[in-house]
Amino acid sequence: MASRPNKPRPIRRPVISKEGGEFEPCWDILRGAMIDIHNKNASELSFENLYRASYKITLRKKGHLLYEKVKAFEEAWFQNNVLPSIHELISSSLTSIAMLSMPALSLHERREMGEKFLRAIRSRWEDHNTSMNMIADILMYLERSHTTETKQPSIYATTIGLFRDHILKYGLATGAEDMDGHLIVFDIINAVVLDLINMERDGDIVNRNLLRKVTSMLEELYETDEEHENQKLYLTVFEPRFLEASRLFYRAQCEKLLRESDAGAWLRHTQRRLREEQERCQTSLSILTVDNITKVVEEEMISAKLDEFLAMEGSGIRAMIDNDRIEDLSILYQLISRVDKSKSVLKTALQTRVMELGLEIEETLKNTDFSNPAAAAGAAGAGADADADETAEAAGDKAKSQPLSGPAQQTAAAIKWVDDVLQLKAKFDNLLTTCFDGDLVIESWITKSFRDFVNMFPRNAEYASLFIDDCLKRGLKGKSDEDVEVVLQKVIVLLRYLSDRDLFERYYQKHLAKRLLRSGSELHIEKELVRRMKIEMGNHFTTKFEGMFKDMELSKDLSTNYRDHIRNLGDVDTKTTDLNIQVLTTNSWPPEIMGRSALQDGSARAEVIFPPAIKRLQDSFYEFYLQDRRNRKLTWAASTGSADIKCFFPKISGKDTGPLSKDRRYELNVSTYGMVVLLLFNDLADNESMTFEEIQAKTNIPAGDLSKTLASLSLVPKCRVLAKEPATKTVKSTDRFSFNTQFVSKTIKIKAPVSNSSSKVERDDERKETERKNDQTRAHVVDAAIVRVMKQRKELSHTDLTTQVISQLAARFKPEISLIKRRIEDLLAREYLERIEGDLAAYRYLA
């Protein structure tokens, strides 16, 4: 270093020392240094010295000269020192790789050669890059002032670009820089890289680090020295070729899979490939490519043959759904979500499958023979998962009993149907949460399909209600709150699917009435269920049910009050009958229960003749009832009540041992009719008997009910308190009945079977009746809807009116167009509406 004399000066002039300030000496220093740098011999150079040289040249406005000189130097260096060695590398076999004709080399050799070539290119690149960095640093001052002013590309960009121009674009065939029609080094690099990538895709292990180095080289080089961000060689040249090669590769893969494999393998393969390609972008290529390559794989592996794979027998989407191939479906969902946001393929497949399975349930139901209790129970048991124990128990019970009676078979069928539907629903719910990510859109498709097939089944409303009836009477006793919750949720799910809600309401009302009157279920669960129905379907749907609950509560108070009232009267008589009364509001309860069905047939209501003791009780209660209320009428519905009777069987003389030798007392629980009949025998002397007709005349009980009552009292062994003559298995109107003095029972309390206690599927004629009634009601409801709409709109076209009415009624049922039309005509005839003149398809409301 030249050390300077340290003499004080007032102010120093600009610091350009005379010596070394000329261009040539400075350039000589720099040129020497550049050679050293290229030869990796820079460690003895002084950076400051070189920097100062370029600093001086630049200060003397010779920057452009320096710039050109450096450029020329580097070009010359390339020609003389780098290219020859590169040329040596390029063997003929590499050329053939570039030609994409398979060389007669083994895979291993090809890989070795390719990697060797890439390594050579990489090391040339690294050398060049390092040198250029150092040179650019030395020339930092030039770059800061000169190139910024002149807008020339930076010295680094220029010199690094030499690599592109002189090596990558170096023509092979001629050795000249003739770009057209000749292979250039860059082509070979691309071909080798792609070849290596394909090897890796086929399972070979290749040098990822090397690939990454080469691609990052391409990322650092630009088409021009201006270095536009989107003009990286990687993006302009390599990536399109890579994507094209990948497309071909995956197209072939996909076709091979389609030929040789199944959908499950295809799913896994595709998923793996997607992951691999992303990984490859990170380890071997550039993350810039992730999206593009993903798209290629998606297009070729998923979109291209999606339908073919899904249709595959035994492994397609049908088999996946049927066999709960959770993993397959999850992958499928993910893959389809990638390529199609609307997932319409999945939609079609799912909906079709739900419909098919739904119709299958119906088909199975038709083909199952429910007369064989074991089969029926087995079938039901197979469906019930939560109620497995319960069903098994029931199956045990049924197995002991004789083949099921007709209605019971039907009931079993109903329960099986609902069970199957719910099970199917559970299956798809499971798929939805585990495979489809709880996708709301998919959920709505599934719901729609369920609704469709459930509503294609004509007895859906009745079966649903029967299922609930069965659950509440049998299934839920003594179960924990959680179990109850599960059942309630299932029930609500099912109801959601029903479109004929008015029909369901009718059945449910009937079944609920029976449950309430016979205390067959737990009230708080009933209430909870109705509360949920209210949330689900609105107020009007549950008003009747709530009315029923209210009646039950009021009746309970009423009974207590009446009992207190009697006690307060003072005439406490042990012989008085304890009355537990249920006062039912006519509108809330089903007509069958209220004994009104007979009325509708037009025949006079049969008033049951109650025994005097009971009659007194009734009168006394009525009197009490009217104390607080005016103008109420009570009708005694004997068909639904029950009674506890204390019976006394005197000991039979002549018997010294056994139960018959003692007096026997039993408490018998019978229907109200049974009580009326039994009390008749109180007045009868021993050994006397009554015919069926006599009994009917004395009680006025309808023949059908009487027959059932007598059957339960004279045929069922455990409560045969009446002896029948002749002792056949059926009750005929000519039979004679007498008091069975020899009756013995092991238990004190006996419950006589009540024949109509369990709710059954209706017989076809009953069903027709129900539908007829329902249609009547519907007619009124439609009338009301039409009038409501017309009152508001005054004038409306036929189509608009129909649409409005349908939307108004959607919550209750789906009216048929023909029904609406009929009702409109009816209203026209009754002059609620008139046609607008000249326009046949429009109506006006007449106030």
């Binding site: 270093m1 030249a2 050390s3 300077r4 340290n6 007032p10 102010i11 120093r12 600009p14 610091v15 020392s17 820079a42 460690s43 003895e44 150079l45 002084s46 950076f47 400051e48 920097y51 100062r52 600093y55 890059n129 250029m132 960095n133 150092m134 650019a136 640093d137 030395i138 930092m140 001052y141 800061r144 680094y156």
Partner: protein, 116 residues
Amino acid sequence: MAFNGNSGNGAPSEYITLISSDDFEFTVLREAALISKTISRTLSNPMMEARTGVCHFPEIRGVVLEKVVEYFHYWYKHRDQLDVPDMPIPVELCLELLMAADYLGMDSKPASRDAF
């Protein structure tokens, strides 16, 4: 040279030495000195300075370099702060300081080295 930029085990020392035209030596915190782009590049290239940790500046007088070093530390001390006190600059050194700043590439905030 008494002071060696590299400590024994090869890790670069925390300090570097700057030498002025009149042979004044300044020992500076390496990190502080790196705000000069020139010094930063000097030290990052595998040349003599990087090896020894010593930079000669034959164009800069000791009294100027002293002020530069003072600025390095001044900047380093306040690098993350707002409302820093001004650093006193003697008027007579202004021109030389400006030229030194230009030479040392301190015309802008030190950016991370360009992504070469």
